[in-house]
């Protein structure tokens, strides 16, 4: 075989391979079995990270000097529903955080109830899935204290957080009105010492854009796992029956349930 034809053959193979590789990226990403393979690494990542971090390894806490002048806001900045706006007008006096599901003692806690419970203040770094970071000081009730009051049943495995911010606009009027934000954590993360139902940021009541009046802080996880505008915490054995079944609003859009990386 002549040099020229050998070279052409090889050149053809190389060009063909790179064309397949490049043009196929979108459709490949949409292929079911490819997604199945790619998502399979999530369980491995979670197990290995948990092996290293254990139950109680704490996220680094920073000093006052590290606090960002303005805490970056993202996602919902002001839930547009009339119910939420009424709560804003009332200064959240009638806001309740309900704890129910697989618990012995369902709870309904007002902001005043939450503030009476033991609190924790921590200056931590918020890491967004988009790549940026911001440091702020959070004050709130460790969720483990609230869960201990509610006494989870034996079969409770996850805490699901239901939020007041709608993500979809069902009647196309430009205002979101349905598909409310939700998130879930396993009980290891939910009972971590730094996991808070936070009601204050930098020593002030939580601003609306940051999730007023109560948001979750789960400091070893990415930002989308830290639900804002929390109204209810439900303990469940599985989240498969809730909304899209993937354990959270962003998870239903394809984001990993395990948000530790």
């Amino acid at each position: 075989m002549a040099d020229a034809s050998r070279r052409n053959l090889l050149r053809g193979l190389a060009v063909g391979a790179s064309a397949v590789a490049l043009s196929g990226c979108k459709s490949v990403s949409q292929t079911q079995w490819v997604q199945g393979v790619l998502y399979s690494a999530e369980g491995l990542t979670r197990r290995v990270q948990r092996l290293f971090a254990g139950r109680d390894a704490l996220a680094t806490e920073y000093s006052k000097a590290d606090i960002a002048p303005v805490f970056r806001t993202n996602g919902t900045l002001n839930p547009p529903t009339s119910e939420y706006q009424k709560h804003v007008a009332e200064g959240f006096a009638n806001w309740r955080v309900v704890v129910n599901g697989l618990v012995e003692h369902p709870l309904s806690l007002s902001l005043a109830d939450l503030r009476k419970l033991p609190s924790r203040t921590q200056i931590t770094r918020h890491d967004c899935v988009e790549g940026w970071s911001c440091i702020g000081e959070w004050t709130g009730v460790p969720l483990r204290i609230v869960l201990a009051m509610a006494k989870p049943k034996e079969n409770a495995r996850y805490a699901v957080f239901y939020c007041a911010d709608p993500m979809d606009d069902s009647d196309d009027d430009g205002v979101a009105d349905s598909n409310f934000y939700y998130e879930s954590h396993d009980l290891i993360e939910a009972t971590h010492p730094q996991t808070l139902l936070a009601y204050a940021l930098n020593g002030r009541p939580l601003p609306v854009a940051n999730g007023a009046p109560v948001r979750l802080r789960a400091e070893r996880q990415l930002g989308y796992k830290q639900a804002k505008y929390v109204q209810r915490v439900e303990l469940v054995e599985s989240y498969a029956h809730i909304a899209g079944g993937k354990g959270g609003y962003w998870e239903d859009q394809g984001y990993n349930w395990y948000g530790g990386i």
């Binding site: 050998r6 490049l22 990226c25 690494a41 290293f52 390894a57 996220a59 890491d127 990386i261």
Partner: protein, 305 residues
Amino acid sequence: MSVATDTTPSSSLRKPGLWSGFWNFLVYGANTRPGEPRAPFCRHALFVRITHWLNAGILTVMLMSGLQIFNATPALYWGQQSDFAHPILSFPAYQNADGEIVRGETKIGSWTFNTTGVLGASRVDGQMAARAFPDWATIPGPQWLALGRVWHFFFAWLLVTNGALFALYAFARGHIRDLAPSLSDIRNLPHEIVEHARLRFPKGEAAKRYNALQKLAYFTVIFVLGPLVVLTGLTMSPTMDAAFPFLPWIFGGRQTARTIHFICAFSFFAFFIVHMIMVFLSGTWNNIRSMITGRYRIEEGGGHG
């Protein structure tokens, strides 16, 4: 590395035809006629060849899915957190009065470059869109952070596994001695650089070893850049930072780690470009064949260095 003893071609390989032609190329090389002795020198061990090509594919996916993730926050910062007003590097996009994206820029410190069409703003399905890196450079092509992350973290496991296997092999089988630059290599560096610049490459016995510049490049990429890109990647994980608080400490913060991670990625890319140029200049087909079948034709000559 070993010298192959088999120098007589088997007759079955001499048949003409597409596949045997391809096979002949692999065994004999483009410069060898069938019937001539096969290229006798086995330059790369099978294990090295396999991990090399796996790594080439894995790094391609890592770079392209990494650019997809980068596009979600198309800016780099220094320190623990993002000083949004003062990025080190950013790719802003600008709209006209009708809200159409019309301009993309690359900003490095106080320098601004108009990179419309490629960086900052580029066409997606014919429509100008605000995105740092264009769709032909990212996996998946369209803006899709969730899937970009899933690609990245799946292939990250492959990268680490492949890299760890290679490192184990290199130390267990003494391949590390082929790669680690020696003191005399370092002393020889100025001479090597001059020889490379004059496109004079080692011949004869000297061609059987990596030269000083190769050692320096391969060793740095594999044993410095490799671990660094993995560690800075892990530093971006909040759970890993809780498990190993020294990670953000040694890199000077999560955002610094992200910046170093980005620099590492483009260092790999720069290595790839130089690597391609060197492969081309020092005998394209001989080099490619030696990386596929191991067989490398030594050009006779005194060698240098």
